[in-house]
């Protein structure tokens, strides 16, 4: 992994909103025209997907011509080489002969193939573990490499301007079209509980990423088996547990037994995904060590398997196609795990909106909402949005300006999405755990999933880490987890009492138990609490083993509350309307934070916000707008933070807020200690004069009682 980290450095950084200019979609003349017009608009950066088939059959050297045009116009270009879905190309760019052969197709455990019903044609997902496919893929990458080499020979100055993007490819789409049994079971539970009122569950017919995800085709199983054999030869998986020794199991390796099959399947699926990415990186940089490569994770909500049936009915029935609520739900679900990565750099997360998948057919207000939501989710984690020019030009000028404004704030790291709790999974895209669902419901986008321990180093803000019950815990993984919990103040690590500890990991844990003082706690079920440096370790029984009379959902919620309070995580703000969504961003080095409130409904509402402490709150949208005006007027006298109401503000815990339909409201929040708003977010010059604190913003700070507020500007 380390050897590829060196090549992953980038000379140019992708902007947060990148327009796609697919060279294979347009004639050269049109490309030239588009590049010229974009250059005039001051956005000299484009991205293009390179469909596999297009590269293989490129007898007219259109990729080379495209790169020449890019060079002539002084553009920076990102070439997305890994196969992705949602491309306006037959079979999404896969060679037809490869996806027509049954041997090359991916399937689930019941041998059902994964059908992608999306323009320009319906096809079946191939298996990225099929030997024939991988052989051709290596040739395709070699071809790309040689095209780039030839281009750099004639345009050496473009080495810095051309970047190759390696994305996560198809792995997240290896999912069935139906909800899994776990998904349905949870929906039933959720409906019985108060959760039924939550839009999270109501909005979509089924939940995305709930249940098993992965390729279980014959080729994939063969690959997993050979990988497992290699792993089982390691000493760690060969040592017997004390019970096995006592029982004299005769050298039978427990990792080969049935109960471990599913867990190891998920683990190996994740390893296969990581391996594919590494192989792609290796192939691209084998000869050309200076090639600029960036690792990304791209998600195209419009192609998600959840929308397949809806798309099938689309032609017959109005409104059956990809509709707003499902797309919004998919963003939530995918956003929890998009910014995943291992190695020396985090992998940035990107959302891709196509011009052919139904997004364009939504109303403008809905499109604006989804676009902003995807921008906040992806950009808040170092990524952004790839979108077709037609989608971008479909927005109004004022909206585009606002979107670019928020993207700039996020890209300059003036705002970062705050992740408070993490959930460690054996496979990133299989999230069938009730505990994870409840964690996400409680914290929203402040909770994230991860599957690589290396990612912990990029999540410094988090104070709670829950390890899934199906995770295979090796000594190395346990050491990394323990190092994380010891490395920060009041961090909490939750480990399951599962049979998936290797013997070495178990011994390591027992050594800790001998050193640390443990406390047994009974909250309807048992868990142990240990102090580890400044952090804490919780060892819990799996919820599936609860006695029959226990309500698993109630117990689970109780346990989560304990874990959250131990980690010092309390929701900073709660909303009385459950369907409203909130995202908390913080400004590094500043005390104040930004709360985005999103209303996914078609009508406005009056929401009541309750903060955990008295705060000052201000409409960031209005403040930014006023700042722009102030700057344009080139006013010599700085008047402090702009405010609509100039009355002296007092910190307050309760606020009322009018949220318009499909509104995205950015609120800047300053806690009582700060007592003033930072100018950091607005890019204002420091206060002049005697250094007194600037005038406080009292836009909707209503100190004594609730009152509806007016004048807050929605960003959508």
């Amino acid at each position: 992994m380390a050897e590829f980290a060196l090549t992953s450095m980038t000379s140019h950084r992708l902007k947060s909103i990148v327009l796609l200019l697919n060279y294979w979609e347009y004639p050269t003349k049109v490309i030239q025209k588009k590049l010229s017009s974009w250059l005039q608009q001051g956005s000299p950066q484009v991205a293009t997907f390179i469909p596999w088939q297009a590269a293989e059959s490129d007898i007219s050297h259109s990729l080379h011509h495209f790169l020449q045009l890019v060079a002539e116009n002084n553009f920076q270009v990102s070439l997305i080489v890994t196969p992705e879905l949602g491309l306006h190309y037959p079979h999404s760019g896969f060679p037809k002969d490869l996806v027509s052969r049954a041997d090359n197709l991916a399937s689930d455990s019941e041998s059902n193939t994964f059908v992608v019903h999306f323009p320009p044609n319906t096809f079946v997902l191939p298996s990225l573990l099929a030997p024939e496919l991988m052989k051709r893929y290596a040739l395709f990458l070699g071809r790309i490499e040689s095209v780039l080499e030839g281009f750099f020979r004639t345009h050496p100055q473009m080495r810095e301007a051309v970047q190759v993007c390696v994305s996560g490819s198809l792995w997240k789409y290896y999912r069935g079209l139906l909800p899994t049994q776990e998904g349905l079971a949870f929906l039933r539970l959720a409906q019985e509980e108060t959760l039924a009122s939550s839009t999270y569950f109501r909005s979509a017919g089924v939940r995305a990423f709930a249940g098993d995800c992965g390729d279980r085709s014959r080729q994939a199983l063969l690959h997993y088996r050979s990988r497992l054999e290699t792993l089982l030869h390691q000493r760690e998986f060969n040592s017997a547990t004390p019970s096995e020794k006592r029982g004299g199991s005769g050298g039978e390796n427990r990792w080969k037994s049935k109960p471990f099959e599913e867990a190891s399947g998920k683990w190996l699926a994740q390893q296969a995904e990581n391996g594919f990415r590494q192989r792609t990186l290796h192939s691209l940089t084998r000869k050309n060590k200076d090639l600029q490569v960036q690792e990304l994770e791209i998600y195209t909500p419009e192609v998600d398997p959840l929308l397949t049936y809806a798309r099938l009915l689309q032609g017959v029935l109005q409104g059956a196609g990809p509709h707003f609520q499902t797309l919004s739900h998919l963003l939530d679900a995918a956003g929890a795990g998009l910014s995943m990565g291992a190695g020396s750099q985090p992998i940035s997360s990107w959302v891709h909106w196509t011009a052919i998948g139904g997004f364009q057919e939504l109303r403008e207000s809905e499109r604006c909402f989804l676009f902003l939501k995807s921008l906040l989710l992806a950009c808040g984690r170092g990524g952004g949005v790839f979108l077709d020019e037609a989608v971008w030009s479909g927005f109004s000028d004022s909206f585009r300006q606002r979107a670019e404004g928020v993207a700039a704030l996020l890209q300059q790291k003036k705002l970062q999405l705050r992740r408070q709790a993490l959930y460690f999974l054996p496979h990133l895209w299989s999230r069938s755990s009730l505990l994870w669902e409840e964690l996400q419901r409680t914290l929203g986008v402040q909770a994230a999933v991860l599957s690589q321990p290396e990612e912990l180093s990029f999540q410094g803000e988090a104070s709670l880490l829950i390890v899934d019950g199906e995770t295979i815990l090796t000594q190395e993984l346990l050491e990394k987890l323990l190092a994380w919990v010891k490395g920060g103040h009041s961090r909490v690590l939750v480990l399951p009492r599962s049979p998936f500890f290797t013997e070495l990991a178990r011994k390591e844990l027992e050594a800790i138990f001998l050193e640390a003082q443990g406390v047994e706690i009974n909250l309807g079920f048992h868990f142990s609490l240990y102090a580890l440096g400044q952090g804490r370790l919780l060892l819990m029984d799996p919820f599936e083993t609860l006695p029959g009379e226990q309500e698993p959902f109630a117990v689970l919620k109780r346990f989560l509350q304990v874990a959250l309070s131990l980690a010092g995580i309390t929701p900073r703000c709660s909303l009385d309307l459950p369907y409203l969504e909130q995202m908390v961003f913080h400004a590094p080095g500043e005390h104040d934070w930004v709360l985005f409130i999103l209303n996914p409904r078609a009508e406005g509402c009056l929401a009541h916000l309750t903060f955990s402490e008295p705060v000052l709150a201000s409409d960031l949208g209005a403040r930014c707008a006023q700042t722009t005006t102030a700057h344009s007027e080139a006013s010599a006298s700085h008047q402090g933070a702009p405010s609509v109401n100039t009355k002296e503000a007092k910190p307050c815990e309760l606020f009322a807020l009018e949220v318009p339909a499909f509104g995205v409201l950015p609120l800047q929040i300053a806690s009582m200690e700060d007592h003033c708003f930072s100018q950091h977010l607005l890019g204002l010059p420091p206060p002049l004069g005697d250094g007194k604190s600037p005038e406080k913003d009292t836009l909707f700070s209503l100190p004594t009682h609730f009152r509806p507020t007016r004048g807050l500007s929605s960003w959508s």
């Binding site: 060279y23 059902n112 019903h117 044609n121 079946v124 079209l177 939504l362 409904r601």
Partner: protein, 279 residues
């Protein structure tokens, strides 16, 4: 590089025709139970599609946003909630089989057409549940696509091309044909659809419809029929349901502006005129 299945352009030239106004999308989040029952009365003529697995309802679609917001677990619950509406209950396994059948078709136009045909051929739920009464399709097809697949196809070649070019106004001359759209028809089915490359034609020749059509016929070795229709007329016709009035309007325009058809084909004009009899 020509895209053989240029769906984006296809969608621009043949916009999806929906049975109802597309205004209700996205309002499901706001739908309450009361709204749902109110809207059920308002849109009783629409069909509710239920996707079921065993006796569980997994998803529902209807003409109304409120319908999609409903969370009813079983088919009888749906019937009770919407007593006046007709239902089409689809087993997941059936739909999966349909998806597999679509794989043999080459492109999304044919695949969508086949799925619509299949869905509309499915019987509605038992008569006793058909309280709303009436029948008929909820689907509306584009008039030209419907014509290409109609019984008149026997009078047309087995394989041919249609070059569709939208002009600024009827009978306009001297415009560039570069943004015209090509449909490759084989036995009445749209086999390929793309914007053809005309780079090898001189600017002067591009301004003459006859030259462009001749060039395309030579390039693809197909008989090609050019349709040079004013953009305004095309949009109007595309938005209308296929009817006697529509075909009458088309025939009238062809009579008034014979340059719409390149080459001028009396046979095609007659077929268009006859189409109104079967509309």
């Amino acid at each position: 590089m020509e895209l053989v299945y240029d769906w984006r352009s296809f969608h621009r030239f043949f916009p999806q025709v929906l049975p109802l106004k597309a205004g209700g999308q996205g309002e499901e989040g706001a739908a309450s139970a009361q709204q749902a029952s109110a809207s059920s009365a308002a849109s009783a003529s629409t069909i509710i599609f239920l996707l079921v697995s065993g006796n569980k309802v997994l998803a529902a679609w209807g003409g109304d946003a409120a319908i999609r917001a409903q969370r009813l677990a079983t088919v009888p619950e749906w019937w009770a909630q919407y007593p006046r509406q007709r239902f089409q209950v689809l087993e997941c396994a059936q739909v999966d089989r349909l998806l597999q059948q679509l794989l043999v078709l080459p492109n999304f136009v044919q695949q969508r057409q086949a799925s619509e045909d299949w869905l509309l051929a499915q019987p509605l739920e038992k008569a006793r549940w058909r309280r709303g009464g009436g029948g008929g399709s909820t689907c509306r097809q584009h008039f030209l696509l419907q014509f290409l697949q109609s019984r008149f196809q026997v009078f047309l070649p087995k394989q041919y091309g249609i070059f569709l070019c939208l002009t600024p106004y009827p009978g306009s001359i001297g415009f560039q044909c570069e943004s015209g759209f090509f449909l490759w028809i084989q036995q009445g089915r749209v086999e390929k659809f793309f914007i053809p490359e005309l780079d090898s034609l001189s600017l002067e020749k591009k301004k003459t419809p006859e030259n462009v059509v001749r060039f395309l016929a030579q390039k693809y070795a197909l008989p090609v029929q050019g349709l040079f229709v004013a953009e305004k007329h095309w949009k109007d016709w595309s938005a209308q349901p296929v009817s006697l009035l529509l075909w009458r309007a088309i025939s009238r325009l062809l009579k008034k502006h014979p340059e719409t058809l390149v080459p001028a084909q009396w046979r095609l004009r007659v077929l268009f005129a006859w189409s109104r009899l079967w509309a």
